[in-house]
């Protein structure tokens, strides 16, 4: 990094918040995405919005890439500084500023850990539903930028559905405030929604006001066991078709169950082909009613048994185990590559079937788990990055999964973001016109392309896979 720029940056944040030794740069060269690693030139921890603004002004002038980073749990290489530049950390900007019980909002800084926020509002009888599996580690800033989903997505939606207002530092250093503690607000374009899910490519979010709900009175958890994968998938569609929207409806196949049990040791069944983890919340009466009805539906779809968790500890152990699924799969092979192709809920059984056929066709191992209830599956390939020939087959298999998802009316990513990993496939989903609109928005806000470069837009789009019928 240019000595002059280095000094200017240090002047802004102070010596102690500027790091550029080899090891301090190395540890911010990756996120949780396999096969992506790239060194930043420096790592900076601003203490407030003003400092972020000064940093961006400077980087804008000198055309230095800026990569905002939460806890680095990203699964599409979104936090990987592909073109170097500075990584921004938010360890100082990690306060919950206000929980407003009259307006049912919480206002916080980007560095707050998701679970800490959830716990803080729950202490006041309030509820923040978005719960990505990494909630114990992930930050709100990361969730906002990736528009993260979670286990409660099908009933409660995703991060986007809870954002009322933002403070954003634009690439030229200007500070923008969008929205507010408002249930209604149609003043102009919805800039709040534009920045949510923008993957750090449009600016730096420095504050957010989030919507809260009253905490549901009761909650129940159950596990339905199947000897047939597609029967489990059919149950999902049938539950939704019966006009029940459970809080959680998760799917795990046998290989996933096995590794999760190996890790968590909570007595998960490993002798069945698939399970559904189902939860409902609401009033005690409604919860009982729904759980009973869903148990009936599962049985009618050949569930071999249905078990209801007897305590909150047991239910929590099940949820925690489910959240560990991806990392637990890493036990099976040196490399785990996961996707989050998403289809309309009604198509879930077709998608599960297609994934298995594609795995067979390319002779790769794909384990599947995910948020079946909202059509968001996580087919995960266990492979070895050192085996080039197999990696090629893995890539082909995933390309075909993407194509199939789109064919079924779905998308290439439900909640993990495009990042660098899925950039070559974005055009499949958006078409030429979609890419053009997005690029013009990007150019208008960030003409020097300093914000998280190399993400969303690929240099080359992959050739569209044609599925032989």
């Amino acid at each position: 990094m240019d000595q002059n720029v280095r000094n200017l940056l240090i002047n802004i944040v102070g010596e102690e918040n500027f790091q550029d030794s080899e090891i301090e740069r190395l540890v911010y060269s990756y996120d949780a995405t396999p096969n992506f690693q790239s060194m930043p030139d420096a790592v900076i921890s601003p203490r407030n919005t003003q400092e972020v603004s000064k940093i961006l002004t400077l980087c804008h002038e000198y055309k230095i890439p800026v990569v905002p980073r939460g806890s680095g749990t990203n699964l599409s290489a979104g936090a990987c500084p592909l073109e170097g530049g500075v990584v921004l950390l938010f360890k100082h900007m990690n306060k919950i500023l206000e929980i407003d019980e009259e307006n049912l909002t919480v206002t916080c800084q980007p560095g707050v850990i998701t679970l800490d926020l959830i716990r803080a509002v729950e202490q006041k009888g309030l509820f923040y539903p978005p719960d990505p599996s990494s909630l114990k580690i992930s930050t709100i800033g990361g969730n906002l930028n990736e528009n993260s989903g979670g286990l409660r997505g099908l009933k409660y939606g995703v991060t986007r559905d809870y954002v009322l207002g933002l403070e954003v530092v634009l690439p030229n250093g200007e500070i923008l405030r969008t929205g507010g503690k408002l249930a209604k607000d149609v003043a102009g374009y919805d800039l709040t929604r534009l920045f949510v899910g923008s993957e750090g490519t449009l600016g730096v979010i420095t504050e957010a006001t989030l919507k809260l709900l009253p905490l549901p009175e009761a909650k129940k958890t159950m596990l339905a066991l199947y000897q047939d994968l597609e029967a489990a998938a059919r149950s999902v569609s049938k539950i939704i078709a019966s006009k029940i929207i459970p809080a959680t409806l998760e799917f795990l196949d046998q290989p996933t169950l096995k590794v999760v049990e190996e890790y968590a040791q909570i007595g998960l069944p490993t002798d069945v082909k698939a399970v559904l983890l189902i939860e409902q919340d609401g009033t005690a009466e409604n919860v009982d009613q729904d759980i009973e009805l869903m148990a009936k539906i599962c049985k009618s779809e050949q569930a071999v048994s249905v078990k209801i968790a007897q305590s909150e500890e047991e239910a929590n152990a099940l949820r925690t185990a489910r959240r560990a699924a991806l990392s637990a799969l890493a036990r099976l092979a040196p490399t785990t590559i996961l996707e989050d192709a998403t289809v309309p809920r009604s198509e879930i059984a077709k998608m599960v079937k297609a994934i298995n056929e594609i795995a067979e066709k390319y002779q790769v191992t794909i384990c599947t788990f995910g948020h079946a209830g909202d059509g968001n599956l996580h087919p995960t390939c266990t492979t070895d990055i050192r085996n080039r020939e197999e990696m090629e087959r893995v890539e082909k298999a995933f390309a075909e999964i993407f194509a199939k998802a789109i064919e079924l009316g779905g998308t290439i990513t439900g909640e993990h973001g495009v990042g660098a990993m899925k950039a070559p496939y974005l055009e499949w989903k958006l078409g030429e016109a979609g890419i053009k609109v997005m690029k013009s928005i990007k150019n208008a806000i960030d003409p020097n392309n300093i914000m998280n470069p190399g993400k969303l837009f690929a240099k080359d789009t992959k050739k569209r896979v044609v599925i032989a019928k």
């Binding site: 090891i23 301090e24 996120d31 950390l89 990494s134 190996e262 785990t336």
Partner: protein
């Protein structure tokens, strides 16, 4: 400063010795981050987290970065508490990676002459020959009893040392008499009906500085129905060596212990220090490339059990009435007992079974206290930061007794009490607490 040639040699050794599959097994999900005390206390520095340290080891392995001083410091700052292992869904064996990396760094290190001499004394002589340790302990005992301690304190001699050493001097337990440490009975019969046969691993510090605790442990095991053998030829477990980059010495000690204990036909080999127990339990992995010793060490390791788990298994707490004056008690986990020996419940169950005791769990009890072997001596700054946080959590429980299950933790808790000036709080080893409870 390391020279270029030194760095190249280290890099070469990483390439040859580090387990690539294990390095790749970390998929960088970050699930370990919240469990890592140094990540938390450093204000979320990735270079002081398990994920960061593995990435650094991998980068040295791949030749991406140089193993410079800063790299070494990142590894040195790790407590080795292994809290990251039980929370790792991928099951990465972080402890093994750390141990191997530290061993490589140590082997390529040019220690200054005084440090070399000190390391030789401590690792080769003090902690391999019990007689030497007994002599040192007696010397400290002489210092305490002869009036030298009082004199040293009065004339302010101790003020010449850094504060954490001054504090440590104050919390040293009263040393046992040399005669008591040197003389050992090798067999203790069970009281009442015999339920099991056990061999007792007496440890170095436990058998010298904390001799009373060892005696308490033996009595409790007798009362639980154990016949106990204490082989005289056993040696230090080697944990201190293994964790300080002296792997070859650790192996030698392991072989001696295995030879001594495999001659006995026992149900358990019992320990009362989490640090030793965990290391004994993992002897197997030191002999990965030696089939004969691997098998022998695995048989040995399968019998290792902490005495608290043995007591619970033999239902000691159900067969005996345990009672103490009314008090609030809290428990600080021994990291290695919890994370490696996987025993978190047994000590708690035993404490809860004492009448008069109100057990109050402290927040983050499972997190390291900062003692971590000799960490509090070599990394005082981080260690004291961790300890201060620990004491904050402790004070919130309003406990007057902190129970521990490892000598290092015990001394660290005493240090914490001393630093905070808490007059009415004491720290005890769980064996001493239980013995008192059964006697009253």
């Amino acid at each position: 400063m390391k020279t270029e040639t030194e760095k190249q040699k280290i890099q070469q050794a990483f390439k040859e010795r580090m387990d690539e599959d294990e390095l790749l097994n970390c998929m960088r999900c970050g699930f370990c981050l919240p469990s890592c005390p140094t990540y938390i206390v450093s204000g979320q520095k990735e270079s002081q987290s398990p994920r960061g340290r593995i990435a650094l080891m991998k980068a040295v392995y791949d030749g991406k970065i140089e193993p410079d001083e800063e790299f070494e410091q990142s590894l040195n700052l790790c407590l080795g508490c292994r809290a990251c292992e039980p929370v790792c869904p991928s099951g990465v064996k972080y402890g093994y990676l750390l141990e191997e990396a530290r061993d490589i760094l140590h082997q390529h290190k040019n220690y200054s002459f005084p440090v070399q001499a000190l390391r030789r004394t401590v690792f080769k002589h003090l902690f391999t020959k019990k007689s030497n340790l007994i002599n040192v302990t007696s010397l400290v005992g002489f210092y305490q009893k002869s009036g030298l301690q009082n004199a040293a304190r009065k004339i302010g001699f101790l003020n010449l040392f850094p504060r954490h050493l001054q504090d440590m001097e104050k919390i040293l337990p009263n040393m046992p008499k040399k005669k008591a440490m040197s003389k050992h009975q090798e067999y203790f019969p069970s009281y009442g009906k015999k339920k099991a046969t056990a061999a007792f691993f007496s440890g170095c510090l436990m058998d010298t500085m904390f001799l009373e605790t060892n005696q308490a442990t033996i009595q409790l095991l007798q009362k639980a129905g154990c016949d106990i053998y204490i082989p005289d030829k056993q040696v230090c477990c080697g944990a201190l060596h293994g964790h300080s980059g002296e792997k070859e010495l650790a192996k030698e000690l392991a072989k001696q212990n295995i030879e001594v204990f495999e001659q006995l036909d026992v149900d358990y080999i019992v320990t009362n220090a989490g640090g030793c127990g965990a290391f004994l339990m993992e002897y197997g992995h030191m002999f990965d490339d030696d089939p004969e010793w691997r098998e022998r060490s695995q048989e040995f390791a399968a019998k290792i059990k902490d005495f608290s788990a043995v007591l619970v298994e033999l239902e000691f707490h159900k067969d005996h009435d345990l009672e103490l004056p009314e008090q609030i008690v809290t428990y600080q986990d021994s990291c290695h007992l919890r994370n490696v020996m996987k025993s978190a419940n047994a000590p708690r169950e035993l404490i809860r079974s004492i009448q008069g005791v109100a057990f109050k769990e402290m927040e983050n009890a499972e997190s390291c206290c900062g003692s971590a072997g000799i960490y509090n001596l070599v990394q005082p700054e981080t260690s004291m930061k961790i300890l201060d946080q620990k004491m904050d959590h402790m004070k919130k429980t309003q406990a007057t007794t902190i129970v521990t299950a490892n000598p290092g933790c015990l001394m660290q808790m005493q240090l914490g009490i001393q630093r905070e000036g808490l007059k009415n709080v004491k720290a005890v080893h769980i064996a001493d607490l239980l013995l008192k409870a059964i006697q009253s």
